[in-house]
Amino acid sequence: MSRRRDHDNAVLHAISLSSIDLLGYFEYRVGRDDAPDLLAETMTTAWRRSADLPASQVEARMWLYGIARNVLANAERGGRRRWRLANKLRALTTPQSIVGVPADAGIEIRDAVDRLPKDQAELVRLIHWDGFTIADAAQLCGIPDSTARSRYQSAKLRLRETLEPDRSEPTQIPAIRC
């Protein structure tokens, strides 16, 4: 087997292992309609930059999420486009295909998360929705573990105040810098 083919197989394997989770990552942040396009862009970027693919599976996953975060940031700046290769997936991610959980379940909590400072909110999403550890979330955000822990605790204090105002003590939240 050629070296090129080995490399391509490694990239294919890495993307395949994370594609479901990456779809969720985008669905949680931009909704089910736009998520397939951002995933398509992430996959295309991953192939383009595949020379940088880390050898370890864990690092490869983090590398893919790093690309996904950049794609998302670019989309938030208005760089969103429709990707033809996402057409088939988009047809499967329509709201009609969702069964079970009502769409408004947890909406109050999500609103509270959305109202957090941006960096805190993203940490909460990475930890609670995407299933990252605080250390991994810190790595993805490019911040030290200790900073991530402090931000995460601040986020939870704020959330507790918002969601359970009667049960929490007034807390002075320190200003958060990016």
């Binding site: 669905e27 398509a40 383009r48 033809r84 088939k88 295909s97 947890g106 909590i109 359970e164």
Partner: protein, 215 residues
């Protein structure tokens, strides 16, 4: 202390359960993801390969036969109901029909006796391009004038001219504008159109407006 821990656990659970609903992962979704992964590779690799190709030839006009419509293809289609040979088209163009409907024109199955010619034409078609509306209008108006003259000539001879709707002529104008642009791109790349004409060329395409095939 214990109460704080319980509160924290309760909040953790609330946060985790508050994840927005996401698409259930079915075998179909897994299949679509797998296809996307492979197609993303193909899509990423194509531009580099296109750049590597060189063309020694220069100049003439090209005769392409754009055959519109797909016999027997069901109407009321979705994006995935394109014919198999248009699932990954060589060209895809968007335009608005005369009546204001969103339409897509896909081309594929490019055939020639010379594989290099077929590849040159494939490379000249574009994806995700909106057809220039002004160019469509200009071509369409010219066609209407031509057709009016043709009708008048036929009537002078006592022959009834075949009926053509404005909409069908609009569609023909779209394909002509796309074809003209593709030819211009080939010439810009220095592709010898004489060689293409000699080798022969067939391009197939379909147009769908509002998801329904235009016959």
């Amino acid at each position: 202390m214990s109460e704080n821990r319980d509160q924290s656990r309760s909040l953790d659970q609330l946060l985790t359960r508050a994840a927005p609903p996401r698409t259930p992962i079915t075998p179909q979704v897994e299949d679509a993801l797998a296809r996307m992964t492979v197609q993303a590779h193909k899509q990423e690799r194509e531009p580099a390969e296109r750049r590597r190709r060189s063309w020694k030839v220069a100049g003439l006009s090209i005769a392409t036969a754009v055959m519109l419509g797909g016999a027997g293809v069901a109407a009321a289609a979705t994006a995935d109901d394109w014919a198999w040979w248009l699932q990954e088209p060589d060209g895809a163009y968007y335009f608005t029909s005369l009546s204001g409907d969103p339409c897509e024109y896909r081309v594929g199955q490019i055939e020639s006796t010379d594989p290099d010619v077929a590849q040159a034409v494939r490379d000249a078609f574009r994806e995700d391009v909106t057809v220039n509306q002004d160019a469509i209008v200009a071509d369409w108006e010219a066609r209407l004038a031509e057709y009016a003259q043709f009708t008048a000539d036929q009537e002078a001879l006592g022959v009834e001219a075949p009926a053509r709707s404005d909409e069908s002529m609009w569609i023909m104008s779209v394909s002509r504008v796309v074809d003209t642009q593709m030819r211009a791109d080939l010439v810009a790349q220095g592709v010898d159109a004489a060689a293409i004409q000699e080798a022969g060329l067939a391009v197939r395409g379909e147009i769908r407006c509002n998801g329904e095939i235009v016959e």
